[in-house]
Symmetry: C2
C-alpha cells in the first residue's frame, strides 16, 4: 500500500460527491470536532446547524478545519482536509443571497431538516433549536488516498471527464489509474 | 426527531464497538482534523500513526478532541465527543507495557498495518514511515443520539446487559427504548 496526494482539481471534484464531514473548531488551543453535512459550491462549503457550544466557538474563532472522506478500510480510503474560515449567514439583507443559496443547496441534497421539528434534550430539559446557516471559505485544501504498491492499473478516463455521478469507488479507481499509468 | 444525551456508561459501551474516529489537534487556535482508528480500553483510546504534521501538532499541544459516530442519516445517528490528552507511547523501558498493550489491542482488532510496507508520496517524493504509537486519555466524554419524537418503544434490556457484540443498531434501539419507556 502507498499513500498518495490527491490534486486540488480532484479534491474539488470529490467535494461535489461527499456530503458528510467533520468540522473542528478551537478555543484556547482545545480542538472540538463534530460531524456535519455540507454542500460544496465554488470554493465554499455550505451548511446548517443549531446554536450550541460548537457554533459559539466558531463565532469567537473562525479558524476551522473540515475533514471529509470515504473509508472502505485501513488500506482503501481517500481523505480531504480543508483549513478554512467560518462565516455565519445571518438573516440580514446583505447576506440574503448567500443564505438563500445555502438553503437551496442543502434542500437539493436533502441535507436539511425543519429545525422546528427537532428538540434537543440536555439533562432532561428541552432546548430551543435556533437555526444557523453558515459557510466555510476554503483557504487550504489537501487530499490523500491509498493506492496499491506494486500494481499498475489500466488508465481510464479522469474523474473530471466522467459521466454524471460516478461513485466514490469509481473516482478512486480513476485516481489510481491516473497515478499508475504505465 | 429529537436529539438526546447518551449516558457515560453508554458512551463507554459504544466506544468498545466503534473503531473509526476523527481526531482534532490545534496550533495557534487552528484546528486540524484527521481520521484514525482506535481501540478503547479502560479510559484510553489506543492508536497508531506515522510521523507527520498532525503528530507534531499533538506533541506540541496534547489537547485533542476525538469524535466517533455511527451515522445512518440526518435523522438517525449517534455521536460521541471526547476531550482528551495525547500521550505518545515512545519506545522506552518506562512505557514498554503501554506500548505492548497498544500493539496487542490494535492487532486484535486488525487496526494496524506494517508501516514498513507503506510509503507516502508527498509531491512525488517518498517519505519514510516512522511508526508512532499513542493513546488519548479521556478527560471529558459526551454523546448525543437521535430518537423518534412521538414514538414510544417497548423497553428492552439495557446495552450493558446485552449478550456479546450487539450491533450499533441494536445499541441505538436499546438506547431509544430505555429513553422512551412509557
Amino acid at each position: 500500500m502507498m499513500i498518495q496526494d490527491v490534486t486540488h482539481d480532484e479534491c474539488r471534484h470529490l467535494l461535489t460527491q461527499l456530503h458528510l464531514g467533520r468540522i473542528g473548531a478551537a478555543k484556547d488551543n482545545q480542538p472540538y470536532v463534530l460531524p456535519f453535512y455540507f454542500s460544496y459550491d465554488d470554493g465554499y462549503l455550505y451548511s446548517f446547524s443549531t446554536v450550541g457550544q460548537h457554533i459559539e466557538w466558531m463565532r469567537a474563532n473562525p479558524k476551522v478545519c473540515v475533514e471529509t472522506d470515504e473509508i472502505v478500510g485501513l488500506e482503501e480510503w481517500v481523505s480531504i482536509v480543508i483549513f478554512g474560515h467560518y462565516q455565519e449567514l445571518v438573516d440580514t439583507p446583505e447576506l440574503k443571497m448567500e443564505r438563500d443559496k445555502a438553503y437551496r443547496l442543502l434542500q437539493k441534497k436533502k441535507l436539511w431538516w425543519e429545525p422546528g421539528y427537532t428538540k434537543t434534550m440536555i439533562k432532561g430539559i428541552a432546548r430551543p433549536m435556533i437555526p444557523v446557516y453558515f459557510r466555510v471559505r476554503i483557504m487550504q485544501l489537501s487530499g490523500r488516498h491509498t493506492a496499491p504498491d506494486h500494481e499498475t492499473v489500466a488508465p481510464t478516463v479522469s474523474p473530471i471527464d466522467q459521466p454524471s455521478n460516478p461513485s466514490i469507488r469509481d473516482i478512486l479507481a480513476a485516481l489510481r489509474a491516473r497515478l499508475y499509468k504505465p
